[in-house]
Subunit: 202 residues, 2 copies
Amino acid sequence: MVLVTTGLRERKKLRTRRRLGTAALDLAVRHGLADVTVEQIAEAAEVSPRTFFNYFSSKEEAVVAAGVEHARELADRLAARPADEPVMASLRAVMRELLGESAPPKEWVAQVRLVRANPALLPHQLAAHAQIEHSLRVVLAERTGLAPDDLHPALTAAAVMAAIRVATDRWLGSDEHADLGDVIDDALDLLAGGLRHPSRAP
Amino acid sequence: MVLVTTGLRERKKLRTRRRLGTAALDLAVRHGLADVTVEQIAEAAEVSPRTFFNYFSSKEEAVVAAGVEHARELADRLAARPADEPVMASLRAVMRELLGESAPPKEWVAQVRLVRANPALLPHQLAAHAQIEHSLRVVLAERTGLAPDDLHPALTAAAVMAAIRVATDRWLGSDEHADLGDVIDDALDLLAGGLRHPSRAP
DNA sequence: GCCGAACTTGCAGTCCGTGCAGATTTGCAC
DNA sequence: GTGCAAATCTGCACGGACTGCAAGTTCGGC
């Protein structure tokens, strides 16, 4: 179960999925989402249009799927942190790792920018976040020894994802001047402080 | 600007929008989302199919739109609370009001249940939440005197919406036995406490 | 009453998304 | 390495989603 000896079959499927995802993102960035058809995406990924729908149920889903895979790293790396480390500290460390210490991954930036420019993608972006949130919740439950459907891990995962989302949005809005890691840290600080009004803590 | 003397034109539009929304929700609950066509929704609302698309860009959006309008109450009522009341206290009070002191509004329950039964709606549900979150953020910014795009009101709004979402999900998962207001209160307590691990507090 | 603006509608057309059935490929046992 | 069962890919066909456009209809102000 844990060791699934990824056979040729599964590896090929994963590669096809990635090709479709990156092709969708790439084409959408270049020509605008509205002017990209499933047929074009399929052609770029060298599969038939019908096969596209075996992997994704819409082009919007394909565009954000790249981000999902990329962000699943979050859960994996979190699970790899020392078990006695405080949760928030683990999260900060993992986010720093994922942000590459300096510049955020180019593909990820392209994706969030595309969503900004194209509101029709927002629903699917949020759905992708929900998937990540679920992975996060499972890991947090294991770490804290609570049930996966307990309120605490569920809310923590949701709040952390909200913090990342808000911080990213702020970062994009400020023309990406600040360091994204710092903005996320600020957001996590606010969460850990119980969202107290800042004017009370000067 | 503030007083827009809702003329007949605008009232009629609003009524049409509501009719379409409730018709969509009603039909989807009764026949299943997949078996409902835009044509049916339009007919139930007594407009042409083409007009449906003047109001909504998909049937999924129409189904969750009812919830959006209903939840815009949240922001309005929050703005009406005394300005010196702590934000969290205002939120609790408003949520209690909206939940009708005893049973949550039937239409709202129908909607969240439908989303549960039909994952294809989740993206649109989340997008609707994002709209509510935005209204919430504006009100919170006014109350705290911070800029609307400041991190604090933005994150607070997002975290509170996350709490409501997680609490609702839990409540649905527990066969709606507990009192939803209590579950939401628990979630807000966790938020206000900085999401501290519960085992550290007893 | 009358006029401009806003709203509704039908029509035509493109693309989406799915069920199905037949090829093709893969994993596995022998 | 051969053969078989299962998984996957593909083309076809079809109904529905969604949009631009132009004509008709209704509303609000004068």
